[in-house]
Point group: C2
Amino acid sequence: MTLSQQEISKPNYFVESEQILHYGIEQEIMQLFNTPSQSTSVEKNMDELVDNLCDSFLIANNANTDIDLNSLKNQFYDSEIPEKPADIKKYIEYLSNNVIDHSIHTSSPRFIGHMTSALPYFVRPIAKLMTAMNQNAVKIETAKALSFYERQALAMMHRQIYNFSDRFYEKHIQNSQSTLGILVSGGTTANIAALWCARNAALGAKDGFSGVEKEGLTAALNNYGYKGAVIIGSELMHYSFDKAADLLGIGLRSLIKVPTDSNNRVNLRSLRQAVVECQDQNLCIIAIAGIAGTTDSGGVDSLLDIAEIAHEANVHFHVDAAWGGPLVFSKQHRHKLAGIELADSITIDGHKQLYLPIGIGMVFMREPHTAKAIEKQASYTMRKGSFDLGKRALEGSRPGMALFLHAGLNLIGTKGYEFLIDEGIRKTQYLANRICAMPEFELLAEPDTNLVIYRYVPEQFRELVAQQKLTEIDNLFISEFNQNLQKLQRQAGRTFISRTTKTTNCMGKEIPIIALRAVLANPLTTENDIDAVLNDQIQIASEVSVS
Amino acid sequence: MTLSQQEISKPNYFVESEQILHYGIEQEIMQLFNTPSQSTSVEKNMDELVDNLCDSFLIANNANTDIDLNSLKNQFYDSEIPEKPADIKKYIEYLSNNVIDHSIHTSSPRFIGHMTSALPYFVRPIAKLMTAMNQNAVKIETAKALSFYERQALAMMHRQIYNFSDRFYEKHIQNSQSTLGILVSGGTTANIAALWCARNAALGAKDGFSGVEKEGLTAALNNYGYKGAVIIGSELMHYSFDKAADLLGIGLRSLIKVPTDSNNRVNLRSLRQAVVECQDQNLCIIAIAGIAGTTDSGGVDSLLDIAEIAHEANVHFHVDAAWGGPLVFSKQHRHKLAGIELADSITIDGHKQLYLPIGIGMVFMREPHTAKAIEKQASYTMRKGSFDLGKRALEGSRPGMALFLHAGLNLIGTKGYEFLIDEGIRKTQYLANRICAMPEFELLAEPDTNLVIYRYVPEQFRELVAQQKLTEIDNLFISEFNQNLQKLQRQAGRTFISRTTKTTNCMGKEIPIIALRAVLANPLTTENDIDAVLNDQIQIASEVSVS
């Protein structure tokens, strides 16, 4: 071990402390902490091994191997931590054979079933850089420049959505009392944080009452004379709203799920009715939520109408744009989000249509003081008036994920994101057209953005589908068929489509059916890949049996 | 662009779709999504640039540059996203000059003020691998082998703490109905998740009542006949308990903060009294929390006693061992955690004393069904009976951070972690001894683990300190002195110590004083570095002025 740079820093454990000699691995452990230049051979060797693994992983075209889950899980039963450090080469070999080989090729052009995609190459070196820098974004003392850099990246996205004046951004972008956005670990924490702010504001301190934050929910409802508190949104709200309703203490029953129309958008009449009913029942409406790209089907609610309803009711308007938010980059498609600029808070996921790694959720606030409702302090950090980003956040210690966001916005640019969004939607139209043209499939909803909901129709039902004469029993059979088809396709591993449940009208009755779900976001996916996925399903359909 | 591997996948945007020609950057954007081998020059070039940046960043010995925050923030005022993709080389140059150069050298041996450290080299290539694999741990369909691998890594830590039988681990390690631990983004989310489970269990479904999860907090308290709900722990509980009390709807007032003794451990008599008082007032005690390593001072509560108190009261016992958990690896020091194995839930941070990157929190459950209390489902994922890890979690989409945890446990091993823990505590003793031996400093508490709380004493007060005759005014002066000393030291950037507030007895009265706070966890920190930090403080003290 050489620490030539500064002789004074040379570790001296081995001469000074007798007590530790029984480990026998001191030197080995200390070498792990060498900087790259101090251990050229070790770290560079591992770099090369890992680069090769990345390379062969990323080039794969299939969705995954065909090993079944039961055989796979048998490889992970050992629960002992080894006493001595494992050999690095052997560990990487183990990793390669047991984990990497049986991981999902989320970047494959034929894995079009979930909201994952190939990522731009620059995220890989940046991941290494972020880990080497090891900044903790919770406070300025462990993230000096990064704190301002993160604020900047969030302000850039804020501006892209809300488009306020130069003066507004100049005033708030680096103002420690302003919060234009919060970087969180994902869309779920973003939605929770937004609804947390909304609850604390709706039941805040007033006239000698210290607010729900300090006094708790029961006291707050009593103080304001409410019988309960609710959150209202479409029945297609993401499961994170369930988590939020549970966490925030209002309970799942108080998450009011309004029916959607056949286009997967919330029914506005029902929504208005729900608001009136809650008001009549003297319930505190914490927030009304709109969805910009449901996880189920990509549907976008009529945000402008919901904004109006929320405004009239004087209620916090939250938009879950985890998926659809980046449509703001597209001249062709941003009209679908009209009204998003009226939202009090907006969730966007960086790891979805901003093409960044998983772990970047964002919540944006129209008003820079909204997040004050959740502010906390501690004596060793997050002091009042400081630039510590942890003051207004759900999380505490946080990595420097802003590096990905800032790099993405700069290295892809508005035109680049526009191209990516437009391409995804163009390919979605291609898939929808193919489905309509092929007798084997039935399109279940006109796609709003870049998700397609459809199903395979076994031959004996095709005539009935065309005549809209399927019975509930027929639908049950077709659902089981599609469920089995999806499982077999996943198991085979050549291509991948996910599945979901959709409500459909069957002879005047609303019934749940199983739908196949395609997500078209991967820039590497071509029309040929789409054809290949459909053809794979047709081939697999011949093997499907229904009990 | 060559996509030799499979001709069928060659993107054909440029010939087929006229509509997109106006972007003018299609090819540039598509090239970003090439795999490493398809773009050798581009990605390899960036790899090299980034490797050099990492290298010079990691070799730095000072804490940070001496640029002041106001000048620094002026560099981050632009809020426009560029239209065209930026040049990668120029962007990295920008990153280097504006962000990396003014980031905190958390790995510096003389940055001993926060819970950050140098990290083992293998985390850097693994970061790249994790990002390339882009698994989403929320569900098996986007994280096949990784789901089982994560369960295994968590079970290994569970076993290290609870040490149940082989049979126990065989039964639960890969059982989709069992949860031995949840991987979360950090200690804050771990504490929130644990207390969420505790609240939902304490006020669960019973005798026709559907439980707090569905009915909400007010209805649950009513149903059970409680007047309120509380969480009880020491006054030194991490600020995440404040967030949890707020989020969960009980309010900050219902987070009962019990005084600590001079050794920073919760006063057991006061704790018992608090429990009795809550019972007498008919309050539901959701959880009693013990701390294994307070963020303030590293103090460890008497966990065995708290376990007994919680057991007698039939209340969920949670241990926040975010910092101190890894003491279980040390034969010399694990006795300090005696009783942790009785905890119903335990928080441990991977990015603290497991020497892994930021973003790895963990909560372990003694009983494999505890986390069922927060289970959620969705139609497109997290189905009942599935191996989808998102079923029982606070977060939704999550990166494959298990790669770091599993690698750490294997590549460092129990002996390696034992060495790291023992070394940190040995160096802490060295620092405490030096402080006691130097007239310039006053040790403020005997360290329990590897945090040292002390302060600089200006010359005119040294005699009074020795005689324990400081007045409140004297203490006020010394506090301001230390606050300014810490700020100047941070600003100078050569070395770093943080500060906190501590309660002390001053002539029979409890008063708050400002304390310097050292954290000794970095394996690269030597006794020479410790001396250098103290000497730097003595030098800076000569420049401190008090208003």
